[in-house]
């Protein structure tokens, strides 16, 4: 038979009332789930926004009118789309007052032509003029793709050195980029020259292309100038002739950051609320339990147990309940948030970059600690009050 230690008594007390123990455990589990799941999501989105902000070096993005949402969807989530602007606008904007650099890009969506081939976003860039894609492609130690080569995003299928078929033509995968958390992960990159050549020789005529067209033009504004003033000047000059729309990248990122702020606040509020609810539930339970078990504790005292021993029993009970609930909640958060993060962030229209395993471990440990703490903290008052009265009178109470 096991020795009747304080821990063993607490454990037996919990086992004797499985439904009550499970209920308390669930209260703590919900709190731990909200805390850890919310933190995982908001930190992942935070990293995604940071990654996007670091990679988007342009101040102004020029796209065809009505395509700003598609452009953002392509950047954020890699949702494939094809759109064109007249190509001669590039040179006009390059020499526009206040514009320091202009880099055209061509966005092409491959077709969902046959069974099991899915559309991907092809992004073609001009290696000579580009200042947006090239720097971080190079930062990944990836060379500029040659004629029949492409660089693929982290989540595009196919190994480096193998071939990928785009518009009926084979390209060699020269390299794979690191995970970015944005639409670039599901995009394929090639040079503008290769893309134009591809479009001219494309086997199927499903992609309509007007020679010389581009999809977007990324602009860097000269230092010291107001970006919005330059954007307004471009709109005044070319909005009607070229039917264009302007996206100011800082506004786009600040809009996303606002969404992130909302998500972060919501997850923190939910975590705090559920922690308070769990603490309140445990406090009320242990407070009421003290009355219910008054005679039991009185008997313990008559048998020689000190007040500290009784407090220990209560503290152990709460510790065991909160530890089990905390582990359960964190496991459930990990089991649900990790596999569904893409679904959640797609629904929220936010970029997402999973936090490293080490950081997740630290975060999980922190959440577990605060979940475990909720039990002993909430029953501290009951533990102090326990055994305060006379043992004999306590035992006879209620008779």
């Amino acid at each position: 038979m096991k020795p009747l230690t304080t821990f063993q008594i607490a454990k037996n007390n919990l086992r004797r009332r499985p439904a009550r123990s499970a209920g308390l455990c669930m209260a703590v589990a919900v709190s731990a789930f909200a805390m850890f799941g919310g933190a995982l999501l908001s930190q992942g989105v935070g990293r995604g926004v940071e990654s996007m902000s670091n990679r988007l070096g342009a101040d102004i993005l020029v796209v065809p009118h009505g395509y700003d949402k598609q452009f953002q969807a392509a950047l954020l989530r890699g949702e494939p789309s094809t759109f064109y602007l007249k190509g001669d606008l590039v040179d006009k904007l390059r020499f526009f007052p206040g514009v320091e650099r202009a880099a055209p890009q061509l966005f092409l969506a491959t077709l969902n032509a046959s069974c099991c081939t899915m559309p991907v976003q092809v992004i073609a860039y001009d290696p000579e003029a580009d200042f947006v894609v090239k720097p971080w492609v190079s930062a990944n130690a990836v060379p500029t793709p040659a004629g029949d080569e492409v660089v693929v995003g982290h989540m595009v299928g196919g190994e480096t050195g193998t071939e990928i078929s785009l518009f009926g033509r084979k390209f060699r995968i020269a390299a794979r980029l690191d995970r970015t958390g944005m639409g670039f992960d599901t995009s394929v990159f090639m040079t503008m020259g290769s893309a134009k050549k591809l479009l001219r020789t494309a086997k199927n005529a499903a992609v309509k292309y007007e020679p010389g067209s581009v999809s977007s033009i990324m602009l860097a504004v000269a230092p010291g100038l107001n970006i919005k003033d330059v954007a307004n000047a471009i709109l005044r000059e070319y909005a009607i002739d070229y039917d264009l729309e302007i996206v100011v990248s800082r506004s786009m990122i600040s809009d996303i950051a606002k969404k992130l702020g909302g998500l972060s606040l919501l997850s923190r509020a939910l975590a705090a609320l559920s922690w308070i609810c769990a603490a309140a539930a445990l406090f009320i339970f242990f407070f009421l339990m003290l009355d219910e078990r008054r005679r039991e504790f009185g008997l313990f005292r008559i048998l020689g147990a000190k007040r500290g021993k009784l407090a220990g029993i209560v503290l152990y009970e709460s510790l065991l309940v909160s530890a089990a609930g905390g582990i359960l909640g964190i496991a459930a958060a990990l089991g649900l948030t990790a596999p569904f993060h893409r679904l959640i962030t797609t629904a929220l229209e936010l970029p997402y970059l999973a936090i490293p395993a080490g950081s997740a471990l630290v975060l999980g440990a922190g959440c577990l600690l605060s979940s475990v703490a909720v039990g002993p903290l909430s029953c501290l008052y009951s533990a102090i009050r326990i055994g305060s009265g006379d043992a004999y009178l306590t035992l006879r109470s209620g008779e």
Partner: protein, 157 residues
């Protein structure tokens, strides 16, 4: 049926039947696979979804059989088979049939994780039933032995 026996039947059945039902509902109801374009051939995920729906129905039936099975050994055997069946079902979208190639498709971001969570629940549920029945049987055996020890001790005294 005694209350304790009814509870035990439910405890043996529910951990397998409920996630089985969930699995059956995932591919075409809760987290649907990619829609089939009008006039086009269905993609791999559609066939994976059909197979997994069948697996879900099979798990539900196993759960129902667990409720009516009388012997603990038979229940444990059925749960062990359910674990193996769940592993096989897990191979349907990964190795046997497959899903759409693009990681951004609905079958990849919704259906696949949901199926894996349901299968994990089935495996955990089956293991729970195996250990729970083992624990209950051992407890009953102990109390039975203890009950038969009392007259022997009296005889000795």
């Amino acid at each position: 049926m005694k209350a304790s026996s009814w509870k035990r039947s439910l405890a043996a059945s529910l951990p397998v039947a409920a996630p089985g039902l969930l699995l059956a509902a995932i591919p075409f109801r809760l987290f649907p696979v990619c829609p089939v374009p009008h006039g086009a051939a269905p993609m791999r995920c559609y066939w994976s979804g059909s197979v997994l729906e069948g697996f879900g129905a099979a798990f539900f039936l196993v759960g129902v059989m667990l409720f009516f099975a009388r012997s603990s050994d038979m229940r444990r055997g059925m749960c062990a088979a359910a674990v193996l069946l769940a592993v096989t079902a897990g191979m349907v979208p990964t190795h046997l049939v497959g899903l759409c190639a693009s990681p951004a498709m609905p079958c990849r971001i919704g259906t696949f994780p949901a199926v894996m969570v349901a299968l994990a629940l089935i495996v955990m549920g089956s293991l729970f039933v195996i250990f729970y029945l083992g624990y209950i049987d051992a407890r009953e055996r102990r109390s039975h032995e203890a009950a038969h020890d009392i007259p022997n001790r009296q005889e000795q005294s």
